[in-house]
């Protein structure tokens, strides 16, 4: 009897233990699943973000152009007949384009309809025409087929012309009719959008490009690099190789660590108060932007450079010292070259951060609408992230695709810089 109960009890306890074990194993699996889910969520977000940007940016890379038979009427362009460039530049090219449009669609007569017809072609077409004529005066008096960019609205409609649900606004149907006719004649095509890569900002989506922003970013980064790289390397050398262990050195170290975590917008406030208001530097200029960003990246570069210098084994320093080198010679001839790949890697990563930074630049006025491509560090300029910010705020539909495309270009530059950093590290980094 007792033996039975003992056996039963043991069986019970084994049962319970097994049940408990099962529960624990299930908890284990669940826990592991949570981890996997977390990783999957984070990566899923990233995938959604990137793919949405890529998909939405596609329309920005094509441009619809319309072929028009333009009559380069000498009466309009060059009434004096002496091809004076100032007269040529000021002629009424808009009128020529309108005439060409009327000729293509002779059935359009009403005032309102005509205005709708003119809206097929971008406002900027007249400037292209002006450029063409000033470059080649032989065009005057001839009839030429000229390809001009379609307006944003026509571009949007044409990109979905094969679908049924295209027309959303009242007069879309009329526009569509004309577009279909142009398509039938082969006078409208979509081609790679070179305007996007060769021009500055514009109020019209079809005219807007990012060259100005790319050049502005380049100039800003140049200033940032020229200021922060030498300062960062020198400061790191001092702190790592020369500084005595004192309270002052400690203060500098704590200070650098804290600066690295100060919100970027604070650096913008500093730039506004010091560079603009105190020194009276120009607003919107890459010079000021670069200075602000260099103050911001300096801690990053110092920290990276110190880590790289620290990784150089002391035996190398001691060997050089033993051969009679002075401390500065040890640093310049031995430690610094050996740490260079690490320092450069850190600098490139810091520069990539500076390239993507927006908030401090808003503070120093780099949000102006700037059409011209900057030529010097004191010219007003936009930078890529600010251009993205400005376009993202624009109500025109064409700018949505442009924003995505600009983001893609910015991400492209960032990936290039990071790849460079990784390559440098792989190729030159030594382990002791």
């Amino acid at each position: 009897m007792t033996e039975l109960t003992m056996a039963q009890r043991r069986r019970d306890s084994i049962d319970r233990a097994e049940k408990r074990l099962k529960r624990r194993r299930r908890a284990e699996a669940r826990f592991r699943l949570y981890g996997l889910l977390a990783v999957a969520t984070a990566l899923g977000f990233l995938a959604v973000l990137i793919s949405m940007i890529v998909v939405n940016s596609i329309p920005a890379f094509t441009q619809t152009v319309i072929g028009l038979e333009v009559d380069f009427d000498p009466e309009t362009i060059d009434p004096n007949g002496n091809a004076d460039p100032s007269v040529l530049a000021r002629a009424d090219y808009g009128g020529l384009i309108k005439a060409a449009l009327r000729e293509t669609f002779p059935e359009v007569t009403g005032r309102k309809e005509k205005r709708l017809l003119y809206s097929l072609v971008t406002n900027g077409a007249q400037y292209d025409l002006a450029k063409k004529v000033t470059a080649d005066t032989a065009l005057i008096g001839t009839r030429q087929k000229v390809w001009v960019a379609a307006s944003d609205r026509a571009d949007q409609l044409y990109s979905r012309i094969d679908r049924d649900d295209v027309a959303t606004r009242g007069d879309d149907e009329t526009l569509l009719g004309w577009l279909r006719e142009l398509q039938r004649k082969g006078d409208i095509v979509s081609r790679f959008n070179t305007t996007f890569f060769t021009s500055g900002d514009s109020r019209e989506p079809e005219q807007a490009g990012i060259l100005g922003a790319i050049v502005g970013s380049g100039l800003t980064l140049l200033v940032t690099f020229l200021c922060s790289f030498p300062l960062g390397v020198l400061a790191a050398l001092y702190l790592e190789e020369f500084a005595p262990k004192s309270r002052w050195t400690n203060l500098i170290e704590v200070n650098i660590n804290n600066l690295a975590a100060v919100p970027s917008i604070i650096f913008g406030l500093l730039g506004l108060a010091v560079f603009l208001n105190f020194f009276g530097m120009p607003r919107s200029a890459p010079l000021v932007g670069g200075l602000v960003l260099s103050l911001m990246t300096l801690p990053t570069i110092i920290i990276a450079a110190r880590a790289a210098l620290k990784a150089v084994p002391p035996s190398i320093r001691e060997a050089a010292l033993a051969l009679g080198a002075s401390p500065l010679q040890v640093a310049v001839h031995h430690t610094l070259p050996l740490a260079a790949p690490g320092i450069l890697t850190g600098t490139i990563i810091g520069m990539a951060g500076a390239l993507g930074e927006t908030a401090p630049l808003l503070m120093i006025g780099m949000v102006a609408f700037i059409v011209d491509i900057p030529a010097a560090v004191t010219d007003p300029a936009a930078v890529l992230p600010v251009q993205i910010y400005l376009w993202a705020d624009s109500p025109e539909r064409g700018f949505a695709a442009k924003t995505n495309a600009a983001i893609l270009v910015l991400l492209g530059f960032l990936i290039l810089m990071n790849l460079l950093a990784v390559l440098l590290r792989r190729r030159f980094e030594r382990r002791w």
Binding site: R24, I252, P263, I407, L414
Partner: protein, 460 residues
């Protein structure tokens, strides 16, 4: 003279100084038949430094003060007209002149006064520029001659050059301190001007924020109100949402990566998560404003909830997404640094992996994780672009994540973007907000670094 030109000439001069000094040292050693105490290149460097450094410092000072100098010159140019013009026209003249100088070209249709003032400004400016340029170059040459005369085989040129290099490096490391001082002083100075107009208690405890001041003093709301509580609450709400997103995802990712994933998966997933940290914030802002916010609004409509198009939820969620890598990589580091012996001990007692992590690894890593989370909070509070693009402008005092709230950083940006005058309470309030932000984030960072460091000492 153009500063660039001066700089180029200086550069050539410095190079010449180097080779002159070097040659002079070699020659003097040969002539006097003594050995050089420092190698000849150091003599070259010595001369080059004497030639280049004072002149470059002066050039930099000049460029920094150029706008002030231009102001003086302009005042001087206008002064010539002052006796002949009535008071009102003088200021207009000044303005037109300023425009003409800025545009850099001959203005087409201005009065003879402006044209005269412009000519006189240009001659002044030309003269001053030329004089300064020549002076700087003279300084360079003087330095060169001075240093070259000093060269002697007994000169300890290397010591001198190295001392200079040492001070140069020291100066570079002081820049970081100067930056902090600059931040504190500029924020404090402008904030004090603000608090002279608006009492500190009103700012910190007021619950109404509308910085728009009326144009005339007798209009309604002439003074604007600067109670920052709604901004703090809005910032707190968005930060809270961000942390509720980022902490679980980041922490579980870190646990999975440090405890479960094999080296191959780690090698792929860690860089991918770091991409999330490398994406510029303006991109997140765009994503939040144009994708997430409409999506949430649509879902809200589907279940009968009224979600604002600039809801705190959208901004907070996307900000959380941005913060994930900060939480995960820092937590990953601390959990990997927990000694393996602790885990082995738990396994030996029969614990499963999850139990080991939950009851041994996690508590051991907790201080580091708390530090990581605090750093992430400070990041979220200071984050600007996401909230500028996706959060609202109106200061609502609410804790409802579906409504639009505004944050400290959004207000700083809206107050300071565009034209501004620097004596209104409206613009100055941005600096007061900046100071608050700086103090809060600095405090958080300080605590976080302290916690992390204290933990680190434990197992070393």
């Amino acid at each position: 003279m153009h500063p660039g030109l001066v700089l180029a000439v200086l550069l050539i001069l410095t190079l010449a100084g180097y080779s002159l000094g070097r040659r002079r040292a070699e020659e003097s050693a040969r002539k006097s038949d003594r050995r050089l105490l420092a190698r000849a290149p150091y003599h070259g460097l010595y001369v080059a430094l004497w030639c280049g450094i004072p002149a470059v410092v002066l050039l930099l000072l000049w460029t920094a003060c150029q706008s002030q100098i231009a102001d003086w010159l302009m005042a001087a140019a206008v002064e010539g007209q002052a006796s002949t013009l009535p008071e009102g026209q003088l200021s207009q003249l000044r303005q037109e002149l300023g425009l003409a100088i800025l545009s850099g070209q001959e203005p087409a249709d201005v009065g003879p006064e402006v044209a005269a003032a412009l000519t006189s400004y240009r001659s002044f400016a030309g003269l001053t520029n030329a004089a300064l340029g020549v002076f700087i170059l003279c300084l360079g040459i003087a330095g060169l001659v001075y240093a070259r005369r000093h060269i002697d085989p007994g000169l300890r040129a290397r010591d001198l050059v190295e001392r200079f290099a040492f001070w140069l490096m020291f100066g570079a490391s002081v820049v970081a301190i100067l930056t902090t001082i600059g931040i504190v002083l500029s924020l404090l100075f402008e904030s004090l001007r603000f608090f002279a107009k608006v009492p500190l208690t009103d700012f910190l405890l007021g619950i109404h924020w509308s910085p728009q001041t009326a144009l005339r003093a007798d209009q309604v709301g002439a003074s604007g109100s600067f109670g920052a509580i709604p901004l703090f609450v809005g910032t707190g709400l968005i930060t809270l949402i961000a942390m509720l997103t980022a902490v679980p995802i980041g922490l579980f990712s870190a646990i999975y990566l440090s405890e479960y994933a094999g080296p191959k998966m780690r090698g792929w997933v860690k860089p991918a998560l770091e991409i999330l940290a490398g994406v510029p914030t303006v991109v997140y802002g765009f994503f939040a404003a144009l994708t997430v916010a409409p999506l949430l609004r649509g879902w809200g409509e589907a279940v009968g909830l009224d979600v604002a198009s600039e809801s705190a939820l959208a901004a907070g969620l996307v900000m959380g997404l941005m913060i994930i890598p900060f939480v995960s990589s820092l937590s990953d580091d601390v959990m990997t640094s927990v000694p393996q012996s602790l885990r082995d001990g738990a396994y030996a007692l029969g614990a499963t992996k999850a139990e080991t992590i939950g009851q041994v690894v996690f508590p051991a890593a907790l201080p580091g994780i708390v530090g990581a989370v605090l750093l992430a909070v400070s990041r979220a509070i200071g984050e600007t672009m996401i909230v500028v693009m996706a959060a609202g402008l109106a200061a609502n005092l609410t804790a409802n994540p579906l409504e639009a709230v505004t944050t400290v950083t959004v207000q700083i940006v809206t107050l300071l973007v565009g034209d501004q005058e620097f004596d209104s309470a409206k613009t100055l309030s941005a600096f007061a907000l900046g100071l608050t932000l700086f103090v809060i984030t600095l405090g958080l960072n300080f605590v976080a670094l302290h916690v992390v460091q204290k933990y680190r000492e434990k197992y070393d």
